[in-house]
């Protein structure tokens, strides 16, 4: 398959569209956890119950939005599920369970509704850039439409009842994926992470909790779901994210002022690595992609589109590499494939640039 054709199939709209504040915020995700009143949670339900839940809630989802299409987990191959995980459309948990789990997707993949994950329903909306209010309103609208056909487990005092007590109440997890190389280089994240904890929010590297964030990408999300309305949760997150954006911008300015040439050198060395390497491990690729993205934001690199980081961070994951290769790859082969996919992709950008108006 040609890279261009593969890209057309692989890149969801939230990955390649530029959204508000997209120089720092890659994407916004809203997730609502909901359960059917009548059935046991997936923790303990029997296979028969799982099937009944899947049938009943799927029917409600379909009635709520007839444009959504379903993918049943038991009908997917391992690699196909892995690709869905890497695109953030399903969770690893859903991918592993083959009994009566499914995902409903919109055409542009902005909406994904998981059936029989940790909860009976997980309504998820993914938007490019920083669009918390827009994503929340879309998710709530879908929630209302589904509720017309499905009796939710709801308690007057505790709100929406979820499998895990960490989600009870609103069932809302709002998260924003941020690229923060300036704050990392100036060693400020260690200060910011504990500070935002005081507002009921949490920051994680998207490739692992606690440890260094690969590619300087952090996910900032709400931790508490009780005691605040959905709008207040999102507003608090928005305020903190706005602050972090401002701090990241001033860190970048300070870096350019203090060591502009070193920064430029670092950016172009990383660009060189991506453009000419033959073997690239995921960690090095993530670091270089982050540098190149920063170089684009700062105007050092002009011929590469900004969305390339989102796109390549996803496309160079093992599932995608293997899908592109058309079969199983050993780790060393993946590193080679990763290098060649990135080379090809950057070459495409260069051609596009030389070709002028070619899109």
């Amino acid at each position: 398959m040609s890279l261009e054709k593969f890209l057309n199939q692989a890149v969801s709209s939230w990955m390649n569209e530029e959204g508000p504040s997209s120089e720092i915020v890659l994407s916004t995700r809203i997730r609502l956890a909901r359960n059917h009143r009548k059935y046991a949670f997936p923790t303990v339900f029997t296979k028969e119950e799982a099937r009944a839940v899947a049938e009943e809630v799927s029917a409600a989802v379909h009635k709520a939005d007839e444009r959504l299409e379903v993918l049943k987990m038991e009908e997917l191959q391992g690699l196909e599920k892995r690709v869905l995980v890497e695109k953030h459309l399903i969770s690893p948990n859903l991918a592993e369970d083959s009994g009566a789990s499914a995902v409903w997707l919109s055409d542009d993949e902005e909406i994904s509704i998981m059936v029989n994950e940790e909860d009976h329903l997980r309504i998820q909306c993914l938007f490019p850039g920083l669009q918390l209010k827009e994503a929340l309103s879309k998710a709530l609208q879908l929630d209302d439409a589904i509720e017309q056909h499905c009796d939710y487990a709801f308690d007057e005092h505790l709100g929406y009842l979820t499998t895990c007590p960490t989600n009870v109440g609103t069932g809302l997890r709002a998260s924003v994926m941020m690229h923060l190389p300036g704050l990392m280089m100036t060693h400020q994240m260690n200060r910011i992470i504990p500070a935002i904890g005081q507002f009921g929010l949490v920051a994680r590297g998207i490739y692992g909790e606690g440890s260094e964030a690969l590619g300087n990408i952090f996910q900032i999300s709400n931790q508490t779901t009780l005691g605040k309305s959905e709008e207040d949760i999102v507003e608090d997150l928005q305020r903190v994210v706005d602050q972090i954006i401002a701090q990241e911008k001033s860190a970048r300015e300070a870096l350019v002022k203090a060591s502009g040439i070193q920064l430029e050198d670092r950016v172009f060395r990383s660009y060189g690595t991506l453009r000419y390497s033959r073997v690239l491990e995921s960690k090095e690729a993530a670091k270089c992609l982050s540098d190149v993205r920063l170089g684009i934001d700062l105007g050092f690199i002009e011929n590469v589109s900004r969305s390339i980081l989102n796109e390549l961070m996803i496309l160079t994951q093992p599932g995608f590499l293997q899908q592109y290769a058309g079969g199983f790859l050993r780790p060393v082969e993946r590193d080679m494939r990763r290098a060649s996919l990135i080379r090809e992709r950057l070459e495409m950008e260069e051609k596009k640039d030389k070709g002028g108006s070619e899109i």
């Binding site: 303990v44 308690d155 007590p165 609103t170 009921g200 009780l226 605040k228």
Partner: protein, 180 residues
Amino acid sequence: MLCQECQERPASVHFTKVMNGQKTEVHLCDSCAQDKGEAFMSDDSAFSFNNLLAGLLNVSPVMQPSQPQKPEREPVKCSHCQMTFQQFLKIGKFGCPSCYESFRDELPPILKRLHSGNTTHHGKLPERQGGTIHLKRKVTELRAELKSLIEEEEFERAATVRDQIRVMEKEIHGEGGSPS
């Protein structure tokens, strides 16, 4: 032992996952563990989360008390799915919506710990099922308004609000109910 993912390098990362009550042993080499990192460590993952949650609920699996707690009490059990409170503490997850009712007395300290001291939902109500809850919320809001109107000696407006409350209360308690 070889890494179960690449079948090439020796496994150096070992852990047990519990999914829907089923235990799976996972053995990976450093490289594959890193590649799968996101898959295992995203916020929705079960990886180490149960231990963490159990710790928060104050029954860390490594620190299980050697003597059973409060042996004189009957173990609290969910009337619907039969999950015991101890089981809930161990896995950090409920078995069904009724567990919330069955464990109601035990939940406040847990919810406080998990939700920055909060124990009550202040968010959205289901549109269709919300029924009288919508009205009850409105009555609470109106009562607060009534109080401040009385304090401000705005008696005429207060009377209107009082009448509104009466109508809503009648609706909540059914037409024949007492509006007290």
